[in-house]
C-alpha cells in the first residue's frame, strides 16, 4: 500500500518516535511485537468476536434519504455512533487491551478529550478486569461530565490534567509522564493516530475495520466498493484514518477531512491544524502542529472537546502534504447547525465532533449520482449540555 508507514515508522517526512529515553523500552517492545501479535490467528479471532458480540459490529451503513435530497447526492452514514459506548473509539481500545494482555501488562492508562476514548478504555478495562487510570483536562472534565461519571461507574480513576489549557493536549502530556514513571507493568492506550511509532499505525489498523466494512456494505448496496467521497472529522484523526484506510490507494475516491475551525480559522480560537500549523514534533511524532514561531505549542480551541487538539496524526500530515486527502474546516456554529440539521432530518443527534464532518458537506457541489459516505464517528448524548447551551433550536 502506497500511504502506509515505512519500516522506520515514517509516513513521508512525518512520524517517527520522538520520545525521551525513559520511554524507549516500552515503545520498542511495542514496535517489535505489535504486528506479530495483532495478526496472530488467535488475536484476530478474539478481536473480531468482541467487535461483533460486544461492540455491535458491523455498524450499519445507513442511506440518509432526506440528507441526500438536500445535498443532491446519495449520502450514506457509517453509523459508528451505534458502537457500544457511543463512538468508534472502542474499536481501538478492544484491540489495544488484547495486545496489552498479550504483553503481560496489568495496568492501563489513557488520555481523553471528549471522554469517548476514556469511556471506551474504562469499558474494556472493566471487561478484562484491569486497573484503569484516565487523564482528562480539567476543563474537559467540566464540559463532558456525563462521560466522567461513566468512567467512574466503570471503575476507572479519572485524573484531572491541570497544566496548560487543561484539555486533551495536557491530558496526553500527563499520561506520557505517568508511563515514564511506570514503565514495566503499564500499557498506555493512546486513543488517536498520534504518538510515537507504532501507535499511529497500530490505531489506524484497529480503526480500519470502518473502511473495510464500508467497502463490503457499498458492494452490497450499490454493486461496487467505491464511494465518490468519504467525509470524516479530524482532531488527532483516528476515525478519519479508519474511514479512509482501505480507500487510500483508490485515488478516484475523494477523501475529505474536516477540522475544527472554532470561532473561525483566523480568530485565534481554532483547532484547524493544517490551515494554521507547520511541521514540528508533538507527543512523540513529527507531524503538523499549531505553534508559535519559537516552536511553542499553541493552545487549540474548539466547541468539541474531541477535536480540541493542536496537531494531527502523522499519517494525516502526510496525506495533507501529498494532497491525497482534502482538508477543510468547519466553525463551531457551522458544526452545531449541521448537528441540528441531522437531528431534524434523520432523527440522529450526532456528536459535535461528527457534526464537523457533516458541516463540510455544503462546501462541495455534488453530481446527482455521487455516492458520499459520512463517517458518523459518535453520538451526541454526551454533548447535550453543549447543544442546550448553544440553544439555537
Amino acid at each position: 500500500m502506497k500511504y502506509t508507514v515505512n519500516e522506520k515508522g515514517y509516513y513521508g517526512k512525518f512520524g517517527g518516535a520522538y520520545i525521551p529515553e525513559m520511554l524507549y523500552p516500552n515503545v520498542e517492545e511495542l514496535r517489535t511485537r505489535y504486528l506479530d501479535i495483532i495478526y496472530e490467528e488467535g488475536f484476530q479471532k478474539e478481536f473480531h468476536k468482541l467487535l461483533r458480540d460486544y461492540v455491535g459490529r458491523p455498524t450499519p451503513l445507513y442511506l440518509a434519504k432526506r440528507l441526500s435530497e438536500k445535498y443532491g447526492a446519495t449520502i450514506y452514514l457509517k453509523r459508528e455512533d451505534l458502537c457500544h459506548t457511543g463512538a468508534h473509539k472502542v474499536n481501538n481500545t478492544i484491540g489495544q487491551i488484547l495486545l496489552a494482555k498479550r504483553l503481560g501488562k496489568q495496568k492501563i492508562i489513557a488520555e481523553t478529550g471528549a471522554g469517548q476514548h476514556g469511556v471506551a478504555t474504562a469499558t474494556v478495562c472493566a471487561l478484562m478486569g484491569m486497573e484503569c487510570i484516565v487523564y482528562m483536562g480539567k476543563i474537559d472534565m467540566e464540559r463532558q461530565r456525563p462521560n466522567v461519571e461513566r468512567m467512574r461507574i466503570l471503575g476507572a480513576t479519572v485524573v484531572p490534567a491541570l497544566s496548560g489549557s487543561m484539555t486533551l493536549k495536557d491530558a496526553t502530556n500527563e499520561a506520557m509522564r505517568h508511563w515514564i514513571n511506570n514503565p514495566t507493568d503499564t500499557h498506555y492506550i493512546i486513543g488517536s493516530v498520534v504518538g510515537p511509532h507504532p501507535y499511529p499505525d497500530m490505531v489506524a489498523r484497529f480503526q480500519s475495520v470502518i473502511s473495510e466494512e464500508m467497502r463490503k456494505q457499498l458492494q452490497e448496496e450499490i454493486g461496487n466498493p467505491y464511494p465518490d467521497y468519504v467525509f470524516a472529522c479530524v482532531g488527532g484523526g483516528s476515525n478519519a484514518a479508519g474511514a479512509f484506510y482501505h480507500f487510500l490507494d483508490d485515488e478516484h475516491v475523494t477523501l475529505v477531512a474536516s477540522e475544527a475551525a472554532g470561532k473561525g480559522v483566523d480568530s485565534g480560537e481554532s483547532a484547524a491544524t493544517t490551515a494554521l500549523g507547520k511541521p514540528g514534533v508533538l507527543h512523540g511524532s513529527k507531524t503538523i502542529l499549531m505553534q508559535t514561531e519559537d516552536g511553542q505549542v499553541v493552545e487549540p480551541y474548539s466547541i468539541s472537546a474531541g477535536l480540541d487538539y493542536p496537531g494531527i496524526g502523522p499519517i494525516h500530515a502526510h496525506l495533507f502534504d501529498v494532497g491525497r486527502v482534502k482538508f477543510v474546516s468547519a466553525t463551531d456554529d457551522e458544526a452545531m447547525n449541521a448537528g441540528l440539521e441531522l437531528s431534524r432530518m434523520e432523527g440522529i443527534i450526532p456528536a459535535i465532533e461528527s457534526a464537523h464532518a457533516l458541516a463540510a458537506l455544503n462546501q462541495f457541489t455534488f453530481e446527482k449520482d455521487d455516492v458520499v459516505v459520512v463517517n458518523l464517528s459518535g453520538r451526541g448524548d454526551k454533548d447535550l449540555e453543549t447543544y442546550i447551551r448553544w440553544g439555537k433550536y
Binding site: Y18, M22, Y24, P25, G164, I180, D294, Q296
Partner: protein, 262 residues
Amino acid sequence: MKNRIKDLFASGKGNILSVFYTAGFPTLDSTAAIATALEKGGADIIEIGIPYSDPVADGPTIQESNKVALENGVTLPKILEQVKLIRKTVKIPIILMGYVNPVMQYGIERFAKDAATAGVDGVILPDLPMDAFLAEYKTTFEAANLSNTFLISPTTSEERIRKIDNETDGFIYAVSASSITGARGEFADTQLQYFDRLKKMKLKNPFLIGFGISDHTTFAKASSYGAGAIVGSAFINLLKKSTNVAADSEAFAISLKNNAKS
C-alpha cells in the same frame, strides 16, 4: 577546536557538579547572574534549559519553571544572547538542554552555528531519537564543535548503552530512575545496583547521574559511581523561593560541592 566539556572530562576531575536551570526563570534577566554565581560557587558545568510548552519528561517543578519563563517572554534567540553575555566572564562549559521542537523551528544549522558562536559547548535534547540525530544533526553539530549528550535510564539495554556510548562525544546522562525529573530523597538499592552496573561497563565516555539529586548526600553518592552528578529540580525549587538569586545560587553550589569532597 577546543571543547570545554571534553577538556573538563579529559582533566580527570571527579565530583563534577552540573547544575540545570531554566532560562528566563525566575525572571527574564536572571539567567546570566545565576550562571556567574554558580561558577563562583564551584559548579563545573551549567545546563541552561530552553523552556517548552509541553515538557513531557519533566516533573511539576521544571514544568512550572518553563511556564513562568515563557510568560516572562524568553525565546531561543534571547537565550543565545544571554549565553553570549555569560561567556564574557564564565569559563566553565555551557550546555543547552531542551525539547527538539524549538530547535527544529529555529533551524538545525542556524541553531548549531549560533549556539557555538554564543559560546555553547554541548546540547541535550531528550526527545531527539538517535536515528534522527544521526541522519539530521550529527554532522552539523560536529562541524560546530557542539557535543551531544544522550540519556540512558535503568531500563536501557546494555546493547543500547554501548551504541549510545559510541555516538556520544562528551558525557552520558544517566537518569537515576525510570521517572520524570524531580528531587527525591536517598537512592534505593536498585538504583545503586544500576550505577554499579554502569561503572563496571567501562564506557568510553564518562557519565553524570541526574534526576533525584537534591543535596550533598545524594550528590556525593552519585559522584562515587559516575564522574559527577546533575542537579535540576532542587535548584529550581530554591530559585523559586529566592530573594537574591546570585547569592543563593553560589551558596547552593558551595553546599553541594564542599560537602561532597571525598
